[in-house]
């Protein structure tokens, strides 16, 4: 493993990660190991892409580290908090206060306006969002003129921009993006990736993105390749050709 884990509580370089993570579905003969002993860390202020063929466990890894799903064995952590010891309510609060999400589709609550969707996590926590930060985020994604629109009145790209703004507003320790450009045309997709890149650069935001699109993955600082529930390779400062090359050597189809 090329990743070094920092000792607990001393100048954390990792925003989140997993140690020897195993996720098993079913029992006995039908048992499927979606994660088979994954140890990985996500550095602060950087964007990590997770790639791999369907069924490689990339989404499962993200869900488990984000506190949406639990591990069969091993440990996942966010900051210095181990997720295994948390109950449902603590997990919910952790997600609300320390994690941001961008999903592939259905990112927004249809009954809420764009601005209400952006401030949703802070509203759920009963907090007022930081005014300056809100302005900065809204301007960053260029949605100021459409704040009072409902999702049904926004294009797919605009909806994703609202989702990005929501993920960034809470200043979360980490943002998880699950195929954030999967439903978008290449132009809108590029825009979203640019916003995420800006967030990493200007806000020192930590982002973990699951994708199977090399064009998306190359905006990340690092690409981690998964296959059959294990980390099989990784690549720093990726470009589309290097990514394609790695994928070829892994023999993975996507």
């Amino acid at each position: 493993m090329s990743v070094t884990l920092a000792p607990p509580n001393t100048g954390f370089v990792l925003a989140a990660g997993a140690i020897d993570a195993v996720k098993q579905y079913g029992r006995g003969e039908n048992a499927v190991r979606a994660l088979d002993g994954v140890t990985i860390g996500f550095e602060r202020g950087r964007m990590t892409a997770i790639m791999g063929p369907s069924g490689s466990g990339k989404s499962t890894l993200m869900h488990c580290v984000a506190g949406l799903d639990s591990l069969t064995s091993g440990e996942a952590f966010i900051g210095d908090v181990a997720l295994g010891g948390l109950d449902q309510n603590q997990l919910t609060r952790l997600r609300r206060d320390h994690v941001g999400f961008i999903f592939q589709a259905f990112n927004l609550v249809p009954t809420l306006t764009a601005i209400e969707n952006i401030t949703l996590p802070s509203s759920l926590a009963g907090r007022r969002p930081d005014r300056d930060l809100l302005d900065a985020v809204v301007d960053a994604v260029g949605m100021r003129s459409r704040l009072s629109h409902r999702p049904s009145e926004l294009s797919g790209g605009q909806q994703q921009r609202v989702a990005v703004a929501r993920a960034l507003l809470g200043r979360p320790d980490i943002v998880f993006a699950d195929e954030p450009t999967g439903n978008l045309d290449s132009h809108a997709g590029a825009e979203i990736l640019a916003f995420m890149r800006t967030a990493v650069r200007d806000f020192h935001q930590t982002i973990v993105m699951v994708t199977h699109d090399p064009a998306a993955a190359c905006t990340a600082d690092r690409v981690v390749f998964l296959a059959d529930g294990r980390v099989v390779d990784e690549l720093a400062a990726p470009t589309v050709p290097t990514i394609l090359e790695h994928m070829k050597t892994l023999g993975g189809e996507h």
Partner: protein, 842 residues
């Protein structure tokens, strides 16, 4: 296609159950009422044919005065006719029987039997083959100091043979030695009546009229048929009598009891209809939601070559299965309901003869036709809409957002409302069926208009919740507003229940206010000795003069309700003592004076005088139960007829009527400065023999008169609870479907940090907003209906219109509770939702 239908149903068992339940309840009520009624009819027929099994012919007075609502009295006939009947060739035995009001008191001096229930009476019993009574233990009474009683009373009063038992009749209170216990055929008592039995002479003297009997039973020697025997007897009977066969008499008696209970029967059927009506709203709503959710699936089927007709048939097939299942279960539950009803009646003191439950083919047919029919009719429109989907919809992500305003809907709704209001207006002139149709139309028009109202009303109602409950509250409000059609349809079931409650509450409250204001204006006295035995029995007429002599009492006047045929029409007449009545009541005399009334005069209300063109000095023909006719002169005309009714006559006249002489209440005025404590004590002592009478002050009396309406109203509320339960099921059903539909949205909320508690709160408040929407609509409709009814009955003494604010507030609170209860399961499911399933991309 049929296989698809079955698969679909089986894959949604839970939804199936909750939809079916709304059919089950309605059908159960219907089937239960029918089974109960049929069983009752059969058992009364059996009872009376066994009671009259030994009787071949009955002679009774042909004079009968009937003023509706089951208030009927028949005259008596001369006792000497018994010998005449006995002398008819072919008659082997004949005996007279005498009956009248009597009240048996228990060991503690409390009256047995129910006020305003089945009549409590005294009667003769003798050792002849024609007796309707079967001696169960002891012996028959003989002489003026002995009595027997029915087995029901015997066990209720915890008596033993040899007890000294107090009985009150028009002759006052008397004590008898209990020597025997009898049954009424197989039954312990005649339908829960409390019966004191004496020998014939004592019965005539104590409860009847000496020298007169109510009827004569005769038995033939078997040489001819009942009708031949009856014809032979009739030939020798004087005018004013009629002769029936024993079979006809049994039918007649049975019919009388059935008529008395038919009010209850009708009430139950009305509620069965209400339950089915509310149920149909829920079925309509459920199918509409299912259709919306299955739009894509149906479009796919269309794309693969299914015709609209096939899809419609498939959905209707689902309705057929649900309707059949619901009817079947409801039909089964109906038997339980019938048993429950019987126990309910016996709990309020109406003993019904125990016999098996009767199932008529009609009950089976009606249960299934109506259960299935209601389901199909309710499902037809959604099924047609669901089938009418373009195949291309399968390829598109269809927008679920619906237009919030449709002028076509508005026009249709308003049109229906106008028709409904017209029907109600016509119905209120006395056409009850048209009225019911109008009320149903009002609900349908509200159902059509509902989606237009739902959004603004939900926005308004949700505002305080959004403010108080933060994000969960405002999301709840948004959810209630997002699909106004669904919200309105879901609320509609509760609207119907609440509207009926509100209408009844307004009606009752207005009656009460009217009663209060009428008594306040017309009753000028201070105390009342009142009974509940309105129309049959009451206080001996000798009591009022006795009370009048108590020091401090200025006047005590007894009021009787008499029956008479005035100018050929059967009427209830008020019978007063002219010497004292005016000191206690103010009838608003327009012409003449109450004091001038005597046995040759009559007082007439202004309204009746105007209708019939009567003036002072005009003559009227009055005929009483004994057949005697009296010519009376109008000596006064009074304005205030709410208490006195159209005709008022003097006691001295009614004493000649041959009818029983009872005051239903005695009203008193005190002398100025009288010592009220002393008077009260003296009055208490004077009425101690009549424990079924109550001594009340003016205020107490007025309040208890007003409160009498409460019993009826509470019964209605109890039955309407059924409609509310169905409505709660409907809300729960719709919410469950919504939760299913919003799986992803709920998952997203959970993923970005909504706690389970917040998700539950959101669903719960949406439910509350929906329920309150229904309640508010219901209250508006109900108050309007109540107003219309009260207004229409203004001439019948409904002088006041009163809105019972407290009851209506309670209705809203109950709606809130309903909302919370209905949301319990859907909210739990929403909170338990697997987030991953909700957010995972494909």
């Amino acid at each position: 296609m049929f296989r698809l239908t079955i698969r679909t149903i089986l894959s949604h068992k839970r939804r199936l159950i909750s939809t079916v339940v709304s059919i089950v309840l309605g059908v159960a009520f219907l089937a239960g009422t029918l089974v109960f009624t049929d069983s009752l009819r059969r058992s009364f027929d059996d009872l009376f044919s066994s009671v009259y099994s030994k009787t071949d012919a009955v002679v009774r007075s042909s004079e009968e005065i009937s003023i509706g609502q089951g208030i009927t009295q028949r005259g008596r006939i001369d006792e000497s006719l018994v010998d005449l009947v006995a002398a008819v060739p072919g008659v082997t035995a004949a005996s007279g029987s005498a009956a009248g009001y009597a009240r048996i008191l228990d060991h503690d001096g409390n009256p047995l039997g129910v006020d305003r229930g089945m009549p409590n009476f005294g009667m003769d019993i003798s050792d002849n083959p024609l007796s309707v009574w079967d001696l169960r233990s002891g012996r028959l009474p003989s002489g003026s100091a002995e009595m027997a009683m029915d087995a029901g009373t015997f066990s209720q009063g915890d008596f033993v043979i040899g007890d000294q038992v107090s009985v009150v009749s028009q002759q006052g209170a008397r004590t008898f030695e209990l020597v025997g216990v009898v049954g009424f055929g197989d039954a312990d008592s005649p339908v829960g009546s409390r019966v004191a039995l004496f020998d014939l002479a004592t019965a005539e003297e104590f409860v009847g009229q000496p020298g007169y009997v109510d009827s004569i039973q005769a038995r033939g020697d078997g040489s001819m048929s009942q009708s031949e025997l009856a014809a032979r007897i009739a030939a020798v009977m004087p005018r004013g009598t009629e002769t029936l066969t024993g079979v006809a008499m049994a039918d007649d008696s049975s019919n009388q009891v059935k008529t008395a209970l038919s009010f209850f029967n009708t009430l139950l059927l009305v509620f069965a209809v209400v339950a089915l009506f509310v149920g149909s709203f829920i079925i309509y709503n459920t199918f509409s939601i299912i259709v919306a959710q299955r739009r894509k699936e149906n479009a796919l089927l269309r794309a693969l070559g299914a015709s609209e007709r096939q899809i419609e048939a498939s959905m209707l097939g689902e309705a057929v299965v649900m309707g059949t299942l619901g009817s079947l279960l409801g039909f089964g539950a109906g038997f339980g309901m019938a048993v429950l009803l019987r126990n309910l009646l016996s709990a309020v003191g109406i003993d019904l003869p125990q016999s098996g439950l009767v199932l008529q083919p009609r009950t089976v047919v009606l249960s299934f036709v109506i259960g299935l029919g209601v389901t199909l009719v309710a499902a037809l429109l959604p099924a047609r809409r669901g089938a009418h989907v373009p195949p291309i919809a399968a390829m598109r992500d269809v927008a679920v957002e619906q237009p919030s305003f449709s002028s076509r809907r508005l026009a249709a709704g308003l049109g229906l409302l106008v028709a409904a209001v017209a029907a109600v207006a016509v119905g209120l002139t006395g056409q009850l069926l048209v009225l019911a149709l109008g009320v149903a139309l009002v609900f349908v028009s509200m159902f059509v208009l509902g989606p237009l109202l739902a959004r603004p009303v939900a926005r308004f109602l949700g505002a305080p919740i959004a403010r108080a409950r933060g994000l969960s509250g405002s999301l709840a409000r948004e959810n209630a507003m997002r699909n106004p059609k669904r919200t309105a349809r879901t609320a509609a079931a509760l609207m119907v229940g609440v509207a009926l409650v509100a209408a009844i509450a307004v009606f009752a409250s207005s009656i009460k206010s009217s009663i209060r204001s009428v008594f306040d204006e017309q009753f000028t006295g201070d105390y009342v000795v009142s009974t509940q035995t309105f129309g049959f029995g009451g206080l001996p007429v000798a009591l009022a003069p006795q009370l009048g002599e108590i020091p401090g009492v200025a006047a005590a006047t007894g009021i009787q309700i008499g029956l008479a045929r005035v100018d050929g029409k059967d009427q209830g007449v008020t019978v007063i003592d002219p010497a004292t009545a005016a000191q206690v009541f103010d009838l608003g005399a327009k012409f003449g004076r109450v004091e001038d009334l005597d046995s040759t005069g009559i007082l007439v209300s202004t309204a009746r005088a105007e209708d019939d063109g009567l003036a002072l000095g005009d003559e009227l023909q009055l005929q009483f139960l004994d057949g005697g006719t009296h010519t009376v002169r109008v000596v006064g005309i009074y304005d205030r007829d709410e208490l006195a009714g159209p005709y008022t006559i003097a006691k001295s006249l009614y004493a000649q009527s041959g009818g029983d002489q009872y005051d239903f209440s005695v009203y008193l005025t005190l002398r100025p400065g009288a010592d009220t404590d002393a008077v009260e004590q003296a009055l208490d002592a004077a009425v101690v023999d009549y424990p079924y009478a109550r001594l009340e002050s003016r205020t107490e009396y007025i309040e208890s008169q007003a409160a009498q309406i409460d019993m009826f109203v509470n019964l209605v509320y109890g039955l309407l609870a059924l409609a509310v339960i169905i409505a709660v099921l409907g809300i729960a059903n719709a919410l469950s479907l919504s939760v299913l539909e919003r799986t992803r949205e709920l998952g997203l909320l959970r993923a970005v940090g909504a706690t389970r508690r917040q998700v539950r709160a959101m669903i719960r408040w949406e439910s509350v907003i929906t329920a309150v929407l229904g309640a508010v609509q219901g209250i508006v409709v109900g108050v309007a209906l109540g107003w219309a009814v009260v207004r229409a009955l203004r001439s019948q003494g409904f002088t006041e219109f009163s809105v019972p604010t407290l009851t209506l507030v309670a209705a809203v609170l109950i709606a809130i509770v309903c909302g919370v209860v209905a949301a319990a399961r859907p909210a739990r499911r929403a909170a338990r939702l697997d987030i991953l399933q909700a957010v995972a991309s494909e």
